[in-house]
């Protein structure tokens, strides 16, 4: 019996778990996939939005404004990489677009956002030389940044687990039953977790979870967006995140560096899809390339190393839905968290905790809460001299497994051992970047499989790409 069960191990459920782990509470985080951060969290733009965009008076406006600094503060504590690189919202010469830029500036002031300025095209190009000549007016958002969404989530959940939170993966919730003391959350596998409170952070599946207790007052509309990620050779093409003002073609495609030094372009004009719709399409990728070139004509799309599609959990009202369940007591929905959900995640978690208190949850601080998670990338950030000394004490760090991203055996073993443990090839990839470089795992995959098999004491054939039946091998010869 837990005090709280959180359904959904994305950035919202993960950050809520982390913020709850400071209290004397038993918390269980339930995730249907083999790893955390596998839904909308895995595949989005990774942007810390300034807060100029949400409609004043909405939860989005409030939590975005509060959320930016909170996110940077927590990221510092848990060593989640981010960069305050600032963003540009660009108009391309039409009076309508320029008016939009000015309107966004005004809205930002209403939302209480600091550090906004309007730049002429030339002023913007002085800061960002690769910007298109056609850019005529720019909203410069100086507090905006970039963050790796799944690393943030892994760090939050790792820190939560270090502080006592239980994580159950491959726990696909199929029913929620009332019990005398609260709820029984039941998985498709038959596994069962009991808790006094349940928080629904199920992303694109949040309406299905809500329906399990009889709530049908919101409907998630999954919207898919496709991206292309480019080689680090292209990573310095721009230093700011370059947005376009919303147009008839949609909300516009961004061109942005990533915290890992790659260049990200996307998403496509989003479309309605299934919650697990993550296919990429030729038309989608072509659109990304065309629209990205509108902002930054020199992007070299021959340097694409991978493409992916992510699903946003939107809702028709356009605002976050963070409120108690209507059909039962003791359950909280944290739903419809689309953009700026990543930016707001810490503010959302704190707001959810406030609501839980109103619902009767007692929150007493733990004396031994450790807000700090060790930096998983400490080794790769060392100087050659420091690395040399470290390898002499820990030889596994001297064996490079992933040549493209220079990831050692030691770092991979760490990723398999520490919270939340990597269980499959993609899990290792998200934690260490092994397989995320130019060759996309062509060389290192067999080695990574061997390490996973060895650390977990299983046969090579049982190692999966991403859990369930995603086996790479069909047997020994």
């Amino acid at each position: 019996m837990f005090d709280i069960a959180i359904i959904g191990g994305g950035v919202i459920g993960g950050m809520l778990a982390r913020q709850l782990s400071r209290y004397q509470l038993s918390v269980c985080l339930l995730e249907k996939e083999s790893d955390v951060a596998m839904g909308a969290t895995k595949a989005n733009s990774g942007i810390v939005h300034g807060g100029y965009d949400p409609e004043p008076g909405t939860l989005k406006a409030k939590l975005n404004a509060e959320g930016v600094q909170k996110l940077y503060d927590v990221a510092d504590e848990i060593h989640a990489p981010y960069r305050k690189n600032g963003s540009f919202v660009c108009a391309f010469g039409t009076p309508e677009e320029e008016a939009t830029v000015r309107a966004l500036y005004e809205r930002g002031l209403v939302n209480g956002i600091k550090g906004l300025e309007i730049l002429t095209g030339d002023e913007a190009r002085a800061l960002e030389p690769a910007l298109s000549d056609k850019v005529s007016l720019v909203l410069h958002v100086t507090n905006a940044g970039i963050v790796c969404p799944y690393e943030l989530t892994l760090a939050a959940i790792g820190n939560a687990m270090d502080n006592g939170v239980a994580l159950k993966v491959e726990f696909a919730v199929s029913a929620i039953e009332r019990t005398q003391k609260g709820f029984a959350v039941i998985a498709e596998s038959g596994a069962r977790v009991e808790a006094a409170y349940v928080v629904n952070c199920a992303g694109a599946y949040a309406d299905r979870i809500a329906a399990m207790v009889g709530d049908d007052f919101f409907t998630i509309i999954p919207r898919a967006g496709e991206y292309m990620l480019l080689d680090k050779n292209e990573g310095a093409r721009v230093s700011h995140t370059i947005f376009q003002v919303p147009s008839a073609e949609g909300k516009g495609v961004l061109v942005s560096p990533t915290v890992d030094g790659n260049l990200l372009t996307g998403p496509t004009a989003v479309k309605v899809g299934a919650p697990d719709h993550t296919e990429t399409t030729p038309a989608g990728l072509e659109t990304v390339a065309r629209l990205a070139a509108k902002s930054v004509p020199s992007v070299n799309f021959r340097q694409v190393i991978t493409s992916f599609s992510g699903v946003r959990a939107s809702e028709k009202r356009g605002d976050f839905i963070i409120e108690p369940a209507r059909s039962v007591q003791g359950m909280l929905h944290v739903a419809a968290i689309d953009s700026p959900g990543l930016t707001s995640c810490v503010a959302i978690a704190d707001y959810a905790i406030e609501l839980l208190r109103e619902m009767g949850l007692a929150t007493v601080e733990k004396a031994d809460f450790n807000p700090v998670r060790e930096n998983p990338h400490a080794f790769r950030e060392m100087s050659d001299e420091e690395k040399d000394a470290y390898i002499k004490a820990h030889p596994a760090y001297g064996k490079i497994v992933c040549r493209c991203e220079t990831v050692s055996e030691g770092e991979i073993r760490d990723a398999i051992r520490r919270n939340p443990p990597a269980r499959d090839i993609d899990g290792v990839k998200r934690r260490t970047r092994s397989g995320m470089g130019r060759c996309q795992g062509g060389f290192c995959m067999p080695y990574v499989m061997r390490l996973i098999a060895e650390e977990n004491g299983v046969a090579m054939e049982r190692v999966t790409k991403k859990g369930a039946d995603s086996y790479q091998l069909i047997g020994k010869l």
Binding site: M228, L229, N233, D276, T278, E279, T280, T281, P282, L285, V304, I305, T306, S307, F308, D384, E385, K387, D388, A389, I391, K392, P395, A396, G398, K399, I400, R403, C404, T406, S408, R438, C439, Q440, G441, G442, F443, M445, P446, M460, E461, T464, K465, K466, G467, A468, D469, S470, Y471, Q472, L473, I474, G475, K476, L477
Partner: protein, 415 residues
């Protein structure tokens, strides 16, 4: 920091041949750094035969060919650092590497880059669809099967008719898999003709030209692919789409020289070969740094890799001895029908014949290659056929070269 006369980065066929050649030229303080646990590079997983006919006069498998050179390296006592990955090379020839003992820094008299190449990945190909398990680059599957003894799938579609894809079609068939088809987006195969015959035709595996994988299906493991013909612009023809059930997709869509170290050292790269710009000694634009093998240009035969590596090894030895080529150079250029020419610059007063290597832009029948400098014809060569998958070699005589002042252009005419 330790010092060595010559540091060879990579212990595959190129690195070993370069080290042996440098040693035999009198520079015996030569070391090889290799990231794997034994030398041989990719040859260790190429268990099929067909290696060495040109260079050694006998037909060997990949491991046997590698063993020939390993024996030569061992005979000379050339030191090989295994499981040692080079992480940086500087223009002043400081090589930084890492192994289980720590960080190694070597000041080299000359450096030979022989890191080989990698396969073009699914991401770089931008294939649409889902991202299930069961999509391998052909070489990865080859390693898992031939070196580790695991089977990767039962029903296979291979995209790309490069040699590795063709070899793997046969290999998978040998192990009981059903290879449904090999698809090639171009109107011709990039593989050797003999491989099409002995790897596909022998086993009744269809080769579909101007055809590609339009979409990959399956959530966890591949369940099938949608294939389609493409038009001249390589765009999918919607009406030709059809579904093939399979559990495995192998990609054999080209090799890319691994020049990250080269770029980081500030060495200029040829956008066509994706390898360094070199002279006839395979010296890059940074003095004392040489390149050879698949890191310089993707070869179709290891025999030619060994030849090229010997040139680079001798060049590095000459550099260390201070007797490298000097004087004027002229650039080489690809003319009509020729995709690239290597080396990209040549010393005209070298005092020796120079072989030019090139690939053609598309398959041709009978052709005549002409090597010109300005109006002067330096060499001609007639070939019964020419294909992009088969490297051509034309030797320019010393006395012709000495007179060249204008850039050297190689072009072809169809006869």
């Amino acid at each position: 920091m330790i010092t060595h006369d010559i540091v060879v980065v990579g212990g595959g066929p190129a690195g070993m041949a370069a080290a042996v050649a440098a040693y035999d030229a009198g520079v015996t303080d030569v070391v090889i750094l290799d990231r794997e646990d034994s030398v041989g590079g990719i040859l260790r997983q190429c268990i099929h035969n067909g290696f060495g006919l040109h260079k050694l006069g006998r037909e060997l498998t990949g491991p046997e060919y590698a063993d020939v050179y390993r024996a030569e390296v061992e005979k000379r006592g050339i030191k090989v650092y295994l499981e040692t990955t080079v992480t940086a090379v500087t223009p002043d020839r400081v090589v930084t590497a890492r192994n289980r003992e720590g960080i190694l820094k070597i000041k080299a008299g000359a450096v030979v880059l022989a890191m080989g190449c990698r396969e073009r990945s699914r991401g770089a190909l931008n294939i649409s669809g889902t991202r299930p398990a069961g999509v391998y680059s052909a070489g990865t599957a080859q390693k898992l099967i031939n070196c580790e003894g695991y089977m990767v799938g039962r029903r296979v579609v291979i995209l790309g008719s490069g040699d590795i894809g063709l070899i793997m079609a046969r290999r998978m068939s040998f192990e009981g898999a059903k290879v449904e088809a090999v698809l090639e987006i171009m109107p011709y195969s990039g593989g050797l003709t003999r491989n099409i015959v002995q790897c596909l035709e022998d086993y009744d595996i269809p080769l579909y030209l101007s055809t590609t994988v339009a979409e990959i299906h399956g959530r966890e493991r591949v369940t099938g692919v949608t294939i389609a013909e493409v038009d001249e612009r390589r765009q999918v023809k919607e009406e030709t789409k059809r579904y093939i059930p399979c559990d495995t997709v192998l990609l054999s869509c080209g090799l890319i020289p691994e020049n990250e170290l080269t770029r980081a050292a500030g060495i200029p790269i040829d956008p066509v070969t994706s390898g360094a710009l070199v002279d006839e000694n395979r010296e890059t634009a940074v003095p004392g740094i040489f390149a050879c093998g698949n890191v310089l240009q993707v070869h179709d035969l290891v025999d030619y890799v060994s030849d090229e590596a010997e040139i680079a090894g001798l060049g590095a030895a000459d550099f260390v001895k201070g007797v490298g080529p000097a004087g004027n150079t002229v650039e080489t250029k690809a003319g009509h029908g020729v995709r690239y020419v290597l080396p990209q610059r040549v010393h005209t007063d070298k005092g020796a014949d120079v072989a030019l290597f090139m690939r053609v832009t598309e398959p041709f029948g009978r052709v005549r290659f002409t090597v010109k400098s300005g109006d002067a014809v330096l060499a001609t060569a007639v070939r019964l056929k020419a294909a992009p998958g088969e490297m051509e070699k034309i030797v320019v005589k010393n006395e012709k070269l000495a007179a060249a002042t204008a850039p050297i252009t190689v072009s072809l005419e169809v006869l």
